[in-house]
Amino acid sequence: MTVDVSALENTLTAEIDAAGDEAAIEAVRVAALGKKGSVSELLKSLGTMTPDERKVSGPAINGLKNRIADAIAARRESLKDAAIDARLSSEKVDVTLPVRDAPAECGRIHPISQVIDEITAIFGDLGFAIAEGPDIETDYYNFTALNFPDGHPAREMHDTFFFNPGANGERKLLRTHTSPVQIHTMEAQKPPIRIVIPGKTYRCDSDATHSPMFHQLEGLVIDRTANVANMKWVLTEFCKAFFEVEHLAMRFRPSFFPFTEPSLEVDIQCDRSNPGEVRFGEGTDWMEILGCGMVHPNVLTMSGLDPDEYQGFAWGMGIDRIATLKYGMPDLRDYFNSDVRWLKHYGFRPLDMPTLFAGLSG
């Protein structure tokens, strides 16, 4: 007996083609290839055949089995793809709907903090440490130790914020500059000293360019050789790095401060011909930016250093001022107003961290 598989194959092929989903194709598989499936039954019939019959029918039935199995697998694959496609098409959404802003995009760092970080990056590279000191100071550290004479106008109530005298009669004050930290540092630490001191300072003043509270950056270098030539270099390098320009003409001109001798004021070259914009390293205007000088021998002596052995220089500049010059805020008072519109516009994203290797402002 031989078996003609073609009729069965035609039937099964038609059933496979007709299967509309994965369940239907599974039913076809069970009916054909399952234990009692039509193809399996044919395979079983091989046992009852003679060797000659088997020689003919064996390959025919096995061929049928393989072809049906392949056809089922292929059909199953295409049904699966069709099902995925059908699901995907039903899952379409409107991708133009807005998502919530990332918190890191909404938060802001205040320009003063950012600029202090910029300053820290630069002076860190120059081998300086950052020092700090208290806002509430004594007359000694704010004035006397800095060589302010008795009766100096800065010691008056109309310039300086004072507290009421304490039990011991001492009248404390809000520091008018960051310079007292110079004294604290020299008292606590032997040279060499290289520090910069950012911090809050206070004076009785209020208008568009003066605020009763503002921020200063003090610098101090003390060793056995630091001189005006070094000071000019440090300040020039700082200004170029801070304003992120390759060349910047600077004008050092003699001036006067009680705590330095010689004293200098520094102007930087700028172009203010476009209203509301300042460009550094260009133009013909000069803008005053800082005061500096060699630490006065009296200051060194009062801090316990011999001015014939140690020498050095100091400078001070307004952080709010250099921030304004660089980033262009029109009114100093806005710095302290906590208006979120201002903070959003002039503030910095929290991941914009000033570094020298990536550029201070990116």
Partner: protein, 801 residues
């Protein structure tokens, strides 16, 4: 300090240009603040009126034909009564800006007649108030040339911003001396030769306050005629902004600016008896020359006569003895006053005068008498009269300071290589007297330089005259090849705290360190030692005890502007007392309305709920963890300060003693007292209280052992009393097996009738990580029993059925 170029050239022989002079002034420390080169007056030319006809349509106007020197007469309509044929005056062509009327001329029609320019009055050129007629010049005035140049109005005015240490440059002569030393010309001799007086001065002087008046010189000139001062003097005074008064007064002002020597003149006829220099007395008053009345105190030095006080010494004279056009006998005073006392008097009385400006800086004591001689000469030259001998009281002479000067100090402090000869030459040209030729030279300081005390001052003199620009930049050597960490742990944490809060969507503020007293008191402040004696405003009086009041009121200001959902923070100082240690470093923040870290306001995917204590807690813990606080050892307890909602706030503790912060919703009464509306939550983290991590000898991280056995989790729900805190259950569960249990998380809280009144259910997920073998069902059951037992024992909780 203002002066004109021609005035400077009275004392300085120089060919230098205005620009060179100004540049050099700035570079030797006399910063030029402004220069008015009078270019605005250049277009005005001298012109002749060829004819003057009556205007056809106006009685008071005339139609002039004017020749401005180019032979092309132009027609000008003019209303001046003195306009006439042949008059020579100052003509402005169309296009010229006329400063006195603040107008740029154009060709116009006046009553139908075209006018091509203007013949000017003195007022129109801001020369004087004269406006009765147009300028009328002599016949020999050169037609077509610059009127300003002809009239001496083109003298550039220079204003310098004088530092307080340079009294010698409060006079033009001193400025000339500096420029000459800097090589810009030759200083002219300006020695004031003594005047031959005759007869004693009839008014005597007694100094009863020698500490305030180290010298007083007086002389009378009788028979003077006190009219207007000469034109050249008036013009110079006008150029620098002083109004000419009369010759005697103008002379004192002129010497003040020419030599930095203030003087005073009394009308001798109005002085009763002799003069006494003494301290004022309470109750005494003086009507001063500014026509205001001032009350005297013993702190004020005065000059008095038989009538009482006649002058506030060194600051301002009295109205009563002032000189006017009727003065015939004048007393000229040249005195020395204590600089500090003058400064205090000026400040206390609120008087700013040119005399105070100089005396408080310290005038040249050696010029007291020459100054009087110079003034006497000017008085006799201009007003006539006969001088008496001078009375000189109190002056004990001047002993120059001697400064030992190692000339090498110039190089040591500035890096300049200046030869000794050059350095000493500069000092000599400035009036110093170097004595000796060795390495250290004794330098005598001139009497007009009270600011020079030591060798560093002399270095500055050499540096500024030799030239700061001569100092080449010299790089500083770095301490190390690679710079190490430069920030202290607190500085690092301050910086980290700011970034950590900003990435949570908060905006950094910098608020005032001083706040209203009422606000300070609400947050535990108001300490008397932290109250300012002189706040700039009444509501900026107390050093803040907390950053919260500033942030809360800032949130409200934003809400009032329409931004209701704001999240603000500040990392800065608060003040517990007036010592350095009392200044704390705090990170603090507030969230208002729905300003949550995940987003604020309405959104299609789900609206943000109102902020709560848990938002504040999340912020506080984010800061603490970013700053390296040991997160697993932090505890929250429900005993926050009074400005928080008592049931919705907490204290963050590390062990029993260290408080690291507070968080919570703000107490409604606090909000009301601040005039602020919520919902508002906030936190305060004491960044300076976070313990510094132990310094380890290696940066190697501890060994990581990863288990090969699958981690599993089991859920439990416990019913407990309402007062039981979740943390207790978490602690109890974790304590059941510290080796196997890696985490306990709360995933559900339920309160309801089904579990009974006053009870709540807390559901936890316990994460279990087998270490050395796969756990069996029996192991899990044993662990579950241990957890249930531990929770039961420590919290009274029972497994929810």
């Amino acid at each position: 300090m203002k002066f004109t170029l021609s005035w400077l050239k009275d004392h300085l022989e120089t060919d230098a240009s205005l620009e060179d002079i100004c540049d050099r002034l700035t570079m030797i420390g006399l910063e030029v603040e402004s220069v008015d080169d009078k270019a605005a007056l250049k277009p005005f030319v001298i012109a002749r009126v060829l004819s003057a006809e009556k205007h056809p349509d106006a009685d008071k106007l005339k139609v002039l034909s004017v020749d401005a020197g180019d032979g092309k007469p132009v027609q000008v309509v003019c209303g001046a009564p003195n306009a006439r044929t042949g008059l020579i005056g100052a003509f402005a062509a169309p296009g010229t800006y006329v400063p006195g009327i603040d107008l740029t001329l154009s060709v116009g029609k006046i009553r139908g007649v075209e006018s091509h320019g203007m013949m000017c009055s003195e007022r129109e050129l801001q020369m004087s108030d004269e406006h009765d007629g147009i300028i009328d010049l002599p016949d020999d005035a050169p037609l077509g040339t610059s009127f300003a140049s002809y009239a001496g109005l083109d003298d550039p005015v220079i204003e310098i911003n004088l530092t307080p240490n340079r009294p010698d440059c409060t006079g033009v002569f001193g400025i000339a001396r500096d420029l000459a030393a800097a090589g810009l010309g030759t200083l002219k001799d300006a020695t004031a030769k003594p005047v031959n007086g005759s007869g004693d001065c009839p008014v005597k002087v007694t100094i009863k306050a020698p500490d305030l008046c180290p010298g007083f010189a007086l002389r009378m000139v009788s028979g003077v005629t006190n009219g207007p001062s000469p034109k050249w003097m008036q013009q110079r005074l006008l150029s620098i902004g002083l109004r000419p008064i009369n010759a005697l007064v103008d002379i004192t002002n002129y010497v003040t600016f020419d030599r930095g020597r203030p003087l005073h003149v009394f009308d001798a006829a109005k002085v009763k008896g002799d003069l006494v220099v003494r301290r004022g007395q309470a109750g005494e008053k003086l009507l001063a020359l500014d026509e205001r009345e001032y009350e005297m105190t013993p702190e004020i030095c005065v000059i008095a006569d038989g009538n009482g006080i006649e002058s506030i010494a060194g600051v301002m004279g009295g109205e009563h003895t002032g000189c006017d056009e009727n003065t015939t006998d004048v007393l000229i005073e040249s005195a020395l006053w204590d600089p500090m006392n003058i400064a205090r008097t000026g400040r206390d009385l609120g008087i700013i005068t040119d005399a105070r400006y100089r005396f408080e800086r310290g005038v040249d004591p050696e010029f007291m008498v020459p100054g009087m001689e110079l003034a006497t000469r000017l008085v006799t030259d201009i007003c006539g009269g006969k001088p008496t001998e001078a009375v000189i009281e109190g002056y004990k002479g001047h002993t120059p300071k001697i400064v030992p000067f190692p000339v090498a100090e110039v190089g040591r402090l500035t890096g300049l290589a200046v030869e000794n000869k050059e350095a000493l030459g500069i000092l000599s040209r400035l009036g110093f007297t170097p004595d000796g030729s060795g390495d250290v030279v004794d330098v005598a300081v001139p009497s007009w330089r009270p600011d020079v005390d030591g060798k560093a001052d002399l270095v500055e003199e050499v540096m500024r005259i030799h030239g700061v620009d001569e100092i080449a930049l010299e790089p500083m050597t770095s301490h190390d090849a690679v710079n190490g960490r430069i920030l202290t742990p607190l500085q690092v944490r301050t910086r980290t705290a700011k970034r950590a809060l900003a990435v949570r969507g908060m905006m950094e503020c910098v608020n005032w360190s001083f706040i209203p007293a009422a606000h300070a008191e609400l947050f535990g402040g108001g300490n008397p030692e932290l109250k300012l004696a002189n706040p700039i405003a009444a509501d900026m009086s107390d050093m803040r005890p907390s950053l919260l009041p500033g942030l809360l009121t800032a949130a409200q200001r934003n809400a009032d502007r329409g931004a209701a959902d704001v999240a603000l923070f500040e990392v800065s100082g608060t003040y517990e007392n007036d010592t350095a240690e009392g200044q704390r470093r705090v990170a603090s923040g507030v969230r208002r309305a729905t300003a949550r870290a995940e987003g604020a306001g309405r959104h299609w995917a789900g609206n943000a709920p109102a902020v709560s204590v848990y938002d504040a807690k999340a912020d506080a813990f984010a800061v603490l963890e970013a700053c390296g606080a040991p997160a697993d050892r932090l505890q929250a307890t429900a005993d926050a300060p009074a400005w928080y909602h008592p049931g919705r706030s907490g204290v963050i503790r590390l062990g029993p003693k260290i408080v690291l912060g507070h968080f919570g919703e703000i107490h409604p009464r606090t909000l009301e007292a601040l005039d602020v509306s919520g919902p508002l939550c906030g936190f305060e983290v004491f960044v300076d209280a976070i313990p510094e991590p132990k310094r380890k000898p290696t940066r190697t991280k501890p060994r990581l052992d990863l288990s090969n056995f699958q981690a599993v989790s089991r859920d439990f729900a416990f019913v407990v009393d309402g007062a039981v805190e979740a943390a207790e259950i978490m602690r109890a569960a974790a304590g059941a097996d510290r080796k196997l249990i890696t985490a306990v998380k709360v995933f559900d809280i339920f309160e309801g009738a089904s579990i009974g009144p006053g009870k709540k259910s807390i559901a936890i997920e316990v994460d279990i990580q087998p270490v050395d073998r796969t756990l069996t069902d029996e192991d899990f059951e044993a662990l579950a029993r241990a957890i249930i037992a531990n929770v039961g024992k420590q919290t009274g909780g029972v497994l929810r059925q």
